[in-house]
Amino acid sequence: MSPFPETAELVGENLACRRGERLVFAGLDCRLPAGSALVLTGPNGSGKSSLLRLLATLLVPAAGRLVWDGAPVARDPAGHRGAVHYVGHLDGVKPALTPREMLGLWAALRGVRRPATDAALASFGLERVADWPCRWLSAGQRKRLALARLIAAPAPVWLLDEPGAALDSDGEARLHAVIAAHRAAGGRIAVATHQPIAMPDATILALDDFAAPFGEPPVI
């Protein structure tokens, strides 16, 4: 299904994140082997979103490094970008375009020639609104659309920031089904969430444990 090595593992070694003057976390190690799920927990501001953006290479770590399939990500950033899907709080949905057109763009940006647009729309129950302008979509439908890009173009690592926000129970059930299928196929997931997500043998990473001591000058 995917051109990515099945045994590849995403490893974060001794990661530190700095936002402005503040060291958010430091000395953080994490691993995402095939089929695994990593649940990031912690209070607001503990760096869950920052860690996900860091794993996506949208942020540059203040210290430490990322390793994908045994090779440092810094050596092949483009290859790493092709291996991760990032779904954050902002969805990038344009009100004037339709869900189908948005999925087409997202797949094209990833260089996918034949995107599974219909399957993606179906897996999140968006068939009925597929050709509506997105400005008519509700917040939950926009969230579903953002999540549907996980299906439209395959990638072995999913980084999801509060994927359950704004979803109704049907949406959550679909999200869980999609996540389970992804893991069963050997995919890896890191998810930041406040809501309990039913994921068997997920590793919990409490970001509080890596919070930099307050007031201490950052040592990097």
């Binding site: 290479t57 942020l59 954050g88 949905v93 344009k94 763009l105 094209a108 940006l109 990833r110 260089g111």
Partner: protein, 221 residues
């Protein structure tokens, strides 16, 4: 589809769907040019003397007007994250955005400029060098504008900052563009000035995406 073409198609589709943007730029261009005869009087002699300058300055201001939408919407709605994570280098993505911007602003300005030249009584013999100059110079304006648009992301008053950043950078195309029109009416010929305009665009083609992509990375961090 290649990400580069995919992004251009997306931006063109978006511009087509929100037709107001192109209309706004062209409307500004036309109105700005028409204001001058009212402001400085309708004497054909006087107007003909300043015609090239009026059209170039108006085109330049119209282009600035449209720059703020180059990255700002994608920055605000998270689309920029997905562009940064795309299969192409960010520099190439900037080039795609710049190309789409030129197709939706620069090119329409080039097309209407000969018509506007009538309002300010430009010598018909100078029309080819005016249009050709704009055709060669507006891509550089879109590309240089992309740097300023990327730098102004996250600023408190991005529109004002962008204008201040970009207008000084637009001086070279303005100088050579108007000089080309003047020169085409003399024995000198416009060739040298047009070549310089082409050189500006060719230099901006690789350099502007590098600078703008660096600024975008700063904005994303």
């Amino acid at each position: 589809m290649h990400p580069f073409l995919g992004l251009i198609r997306h931006d063109l589709r978006l511009a087509g769907r929100q037709g107001g943007d192109i209309g706004l730029v062209l409307g500004f261009f036309v109105l700005a040019v028409i204001l001058f005869p009212f402001g400085i009087g309708p004497e054909p002699e006087l107007l003909r003397r300043v015609a090239a300058g009026i059209i170039w300055v108006a085109a330049l201001l119209a282009a600035v007007l449209s720059l703020d939408r180059l990255f700002a919407a994608d920055y605000a709605d998270g689309g920029l994250d997905l562009i940064a994570l795309s299969a192409m280098p960010l520099e190439l993505a900037v080039l795609a955005k710049g190309a789409a911007h030129w197709l939706t602003t620069g090119l329409p300005l080039v097309v209407v400029s000969p018509v506007l030249a009538l309002f300010v009584d430009l010598d018909p013999a100078a029309l080819p060098s005016l249009a050709l100059g704009l055709l060669l110079g507006t891509p550089a304006m879109s590309l240089i504008g992309a740097i300023a648009a990327a730098l102004s992301l996250g600023a408190r008053r991005p529109g004002v900052l962008l204008t201040l950043l970009v207008l000084p950078l637009y001086l070279p195309p303005l100088i050579f563009g108007t000089a080309a029109v003047e020169a085409s009416l003399s024995a000198e010929g416009a060739r040298a000035h047009l070549l310089l305009l082409a050189a500006l665009t060719l230099a901006a083609l690789p350099l502007a995406p590098l600078a703008a992509a660096a600024a975008l990375r700063q904005a994303l961090d």
